[in-house]
């Protein structure tokens, strides 16, 4: 088994994509020890299997992976589970057993019992360490048992939390049909994608009638997994500008993956999708629209504007729209204006949220983040800078691979009003009189677009509203000795 070790030393190509060359930024980027708490990227299974209704996710790993999933996903297992563990046993690890035969046995069973349209293999640290050749095995097995198999290596060695989705979408991008190979004529196919997405069901005619409301532009596909209502909202948002979204990656069903052909425009709606972006650009020869992310009214407006400008459409009424949303949130803004927020770093949504909250009138000393792709997040980082300048507040320091212990010291020192943190630190910080909000809540909240901005503030202000009422009771610090971290 020592052999694995040697092989690993030899193989040094690090998987993480580097779009690299940094533009000169006034922002301050640091890198710490990486001793921070976050979820394993295989957790993406939790939301992706729900999003892609005809899928089955098979996580190939150890008991540790299984136990994590079980605890992280709690509820989901009880409903007809469309994910499972392929638990590796000693025989698999020592390569006494034949990987292909083993996986075949399990996949045949899954096909028989669940009949999904696709099986997604999720690689884990263990498959990386024992160098199981999932990408090599999948096409053979796919041909033999006649069911699409998509391979995503969402392991905890290379990625953090939400990046798991990125690995899956990047793998799925390869499966998107090209216009000319699509079985149906392009036009009809696209319409199907839209109609299924808007849940119009039978009412295709209605959509056709509306075609005329769109400008004539090159096809645009959005990528990122969002709850269906948010997909509808963002699609409608662009429709208001006459911009037609011809499909989403992922779609509700694997069989309805959007057509993506060379020259299509693509845009990612989440900050953690840099790998998918690269895949779409390099492999599918798409043109990436690098925009800020549609989080907060400011971000959503910038997002719409950027897409419109690339597609040559003159956006209408955005300023009034944004102003109205802001006016509607005034009650929440009052609570947070002038307060400070600290991101410990967990889900890669940190920069977008910080930018929005700074626009709301908060200050932000630090943005911790697991991984920073300065190019894919370029437009967002620029908007962050611009926002700080316009609001007249200092730029946050951005700490990649943070160290939670050091961060807690800084939180004490800087006397922060609100900490957005992973679940492991929330209770201990609260016990020390520090307001916290779980970062995972933002991962799962419906927060994209104009209409949902208020929901973000509902989350952000909740600890402050709650703790304000407790303050009068003197229930502030609930640990005896002064906190030793």
């Amino acid at each position: 088994m020592r052999l694995f070790y040697l092989l690993l030393i030899l193989e040094k190509e690090i998987e993480i994509m580097t779009l690299a060359e940094t533009k000169p930024q006034a922002l301050d980027f640091e890198c710490e020890t990486g001793n921070y708490h976050t979820f394993c990227p295989i957790s993406c299974v939790a939301w992706l299997y729900q999003k892609i209704e005809d899928s089955f996710f098979l996580v190939i790993g150890t008991k540790t992976c299984g136990y994590f999933l079980q605890n992280a996903m709690g509820v989901m297992i009880f409903a007809e589970p469309r994910y499972a563990m392929a638990e590796l046993e000693e025989g698999d690890i020592s390569a006494k057993l034949n990987d292909y035969e083993e996986l075949k046995r399990l996949c045949v069973q899954i096909k028989r019992d669940r009949n999904p349209s696709v099986i997604v293999w999720i690689g884990t640290c263990t498959t990386e360490i024992i160098k199981m050749d999932l990408e090599g095995l999948a096409p053979r097995l796919e041909a033999e048992i006649d069911i699409p198999i998509v391979v995503a290596r969402a392991n905890g060695l290379d990625y953090a939390f939400t990046q798991g989705e990125d690995t899956v979408l990047a793998a799925m991008a390869h499966r998107c049909p090209k216009a000319e190979t699509a079985t149906e004529p392009e036009e009809k196919k696209e319409r199907n994608a839209i109609s299924s997405l808007l849940n119009f069901g039978k009412q295709k005619e209605e959509v056709t009638a509306e075609e005329s409301t769109y400008h004539d532009h090159e096809p645009l596909v959005l990528f990122g997994s969002l709850p269906d209502p948010v997909v509808t909202q963002l699609t409608l948002e662009l429709k208001k500008q006459g911009v037609k979204v011809s499909g989403w990656l992922p779609a509700k069903r694997f069989t309805e993956l959007p057509v993506i052909s060379e020259g299509y425009y693509v845009n990612g709606i989440n900050p953690f999708l840099s790998r998918t972006a690269t895949t779409l650009m390099r492999r599918k020869k798409c043109k990436l629209i690098g925009s800020p992310f549609p989080i907060g009214p400011d971000g959503t407006r910038a997002w719409v504007e950027k897409i419109c400008s690339v597609l040559g459409v003159e956006p209408q009424g955005l300023e009034e729209r944004e102003a109205k949303i802001w006016a509607n949130m005034e009650d929440y803004l009052e609570i947070i204006r002038g307060k400070s927020v600290f991101f410990m770093g967990d889900n890669l949504l940190e920069v977008s949220l910080a930018r929005f909250l700074i626009r709301c009138g908060m200050t932000c000393p630090e943005i911790g983040i697991p991984y920073m792709d300065k190019r894919y997040q370029g437009a967002e980082l620029k908007l962050l800078e611009q926002t700080c300048h316009e609001m007249g507040v200092p730029l946050p320091r951005i700490v990649e691979k943070p160290d939670n212990y050091n961060q807690v010291q800084r939180i004490y020192k800087e006397n922060v009003d609100l900490v957005i943190t992973g679940m492991a630190h929330a209770n201990p910080l609260e016990a020390r009189g520090i307001n916290t909000k779980w970062s995972v809540e933002f991962t799962f909240a419906q927060m994209h677009g104009f209409a949902n901005a208020r929901d973000i503030l509902e989350l952000v202000t909740r600890p402050m509203r709650r703790n304000n009422s407790l303050k009068d009771l003197g229930w502030d610090k609930l640990v005896k000795e002064e906190a030793k971290v």
Partner: protein, 508 residues
């Protein structure tokens, strides 16, 4: 390879960390990939811990894989030692990182050259044992380490205490109702005039482990955790241990009688019979409950029991002996210790099931259609599907197993709690049944297609389908607000766009 959907017991490192972090001022270091520090979340969230979980990951990533992790592990150990001055640092791999077969023993040796505190490598085979076995082994290992250490330093405290005394072994963090059990057992010992010498590992200091030999006996209430340490102490110091789980009226009495015997053999002269009788007949409500008319109605009802060894065995005995309930089968997921389980329950149930596959257990429940299930959270969900009530009696732990109020499973207060649990489980079933007969459940869809009764508004299909995607508990409010919005603006049909416009304008 094995297709798995659910596990009743966690992986080995969870057991090791449960023991390590139960001690005061002991730090756990996991040699593990980034995503494996889920233990911290569980402890912080489930136990509602106020303190930071004393566990750090020494992260295994690509760079570590390429260079080896010696430097990093040693760094992390010495860093924690300096930052938090723990008495002991326990290093553990996870099953994933153990594949690397790095020489962790060697890292520990190197690190301990420069640390103030002690450093130990958890001596557990991460591929072969589960959480429960690893916890038992780790506790044993830590106890042995400190006994040996005290012996070498000559400050081992071997002389027995003047008054009868006990060590309670096996209370740990993230254990099923452990905190309340612990309080209850301490009370019981006080009532019996027995001094509590040490409770381990929960809340104990490793420095006090040298005091363990002072106790007259060791109490090991749980089958899963504490046995190895108790056996070691018996072997080294001849300290007897009592391993009868004091759960239920009968077993609690049996446990107390055994304690009496153990004490009297060492020259004490105690008689607990009067105490047992008083508790059984007048203090605990459980015996009276068994005699009451309520319980009479449960006679002969069918139940199944499933859980870890401790709780499944005890529950089977209680149902069958104390309440006259017919246990059709009793099962455990502690496969590694199945002989013990068979021996304990065989005479109290028709069939014994040893299986850790939740699907098979679900099928076994469906097969016999019991009136009630006593099992884990998983069986509770099976029960929901089959419409059979379920009382939860065993781990895997869940937030509901950490109630704010006092709910022990052991001792005399435990007997009351169990009586409630049994009674509520069965009556719940009965109530459900009645409700169904009289149509009491409101299962109608709140939103029906088309026009709502008193409304001038129509919901377009897309609007309706969007509305239906909104979580049930706010849907009514969103619907009302949207209709108000539409009415004010003179729309007659509500589309998805109008729904979201309304949401924006009123923040519905």
């Amino acid at each position: 390879m094995k297709l798995a959907y659910w596990m009743y017991a966690g992986p080995a490192h969870i057991g090791t960390l449960r023991v390590a972090s139960s001690f005061k001022n002991v730090h756990g270091i996991m040699h593990a990939p980034l995503g494996d520090d889920y233990f911290n979340v569980m402890r912080s969230m489930l136990e509602r811990e106020r303190d930071f979980t004393p566990v750090t990951a020494s992260v295994v990533d690509r760079h570590v894989l390429a260079r080896g992790s010696q430097e990093k592990v040693v760094d992390n150990i010495t860093r924690k030692d300096a930052e938090e001055n723990p008495d002991l640092i326990v290093l553990t791999p996870t099953c994933t990182s153990s594949i690397l077969q790095e020489d962790l023993e060697n890292f520990v040796e190197r690190a301990s050259l420069s640390t103030e505190g002690d450093v130990l490598l958890a001596d557990v085979n991460h591929y072969r044992v589960n959480e429960l076995q690893a916890a038992d082994r780790t506790l044993d290992q830590i106890v042995q380490f400190y006994i040996e250490k005290a012996r070498k330093q000559g400050d081992l405290l071997e002389a027995k205490t003047e008054q009868p005394s006990v060590n309670i072994i096996g209370m740990s963090t993230l254990g099923f109702h452990n905190q309340h059990d612990c309080t209850e057992l301490k009370r019981l010992m006080t009532d019996l005039g027995i001094q509590v010498n040490e409770v381990i590992p929960e809340g104990a200091s490793v420095h006090n482990l040298k005091r363990l030999p002072q106790a007259w006996f060791n109490l090991v209430p749980y089958r899963e955790l504490g046995h190895m340490a108790a056996k070691y102490l018996e072997q080294e110091f001849g300290t007897p241990f009592v391993d009868i789980t004091p759960m239920g009226v009968v077993e609690t009495a049996r446990c107390i009688r055994r304690i009496q015997q153990v004490l009297n053999e060492q020259g004490a002269d105690v008689n607990y019979e009067a105490f047992i009788e008083e508790q059984t007949l007048h203090v605990s409500q459980a015996a009276w409950f068994s005699r009451s008319i309520d319980c009479q109605n449960l006679t002969g009802k069918k139940a199944v029991v499933y859980g870890d060894n401790t709780h499944a065995a005890a529950m089977t005995k209680i149902l069958s002996r104390e309440m006259g309930i017919h246990v059709v089968w009793a099962g455990t997921y502690c496969k590694y210790d199945q002989d013990w389980f068979r021996q304990e329950v065989s005479e109290y149930c028709d069939e014994v099931i040893i299986n850790e596959d939740h699907g098979a257990i679900g099928d076994a429940i469906a097969r016999v259609e019991p009136s009630a299930i006593f099992g884990t959270q998983m069986e509770r969900h099976v029960g929901k599907r089959l419409n059979i009530p379920c009382g939860v009696i065993a781990a895997p732990i869940h937030i509901q197993d950490f109630p704010i109020g006092y709910k022990p499973f052991l001792g005399y207060e435990g007997t009351n709690q169990l009586a409630d649990l049994v009674y509520n489980s069965f009556t719940l079933g009965m109530e459900d049944h009645l409700l169904e007969i009289f149509g009491g459940h409101d299962t109608k869809e709140v939103i029906t297609k088309g026009i709502s009764a008193d409304s001038d508004l129509a919901w377009a299909n897309d609007g309706l389908s969007e509305l239906n995607k909104i979580p049930g508990f706010v849907r009514g409010k969103v619907k009302r607000n949207t209709e108000k919005f539409a009415r004010e603006r003179g729309f007659v049909e509500i589309t998805a766009e109008i729904l979201y416009a309304a949401k924006e304008s009123v923040g519905a």
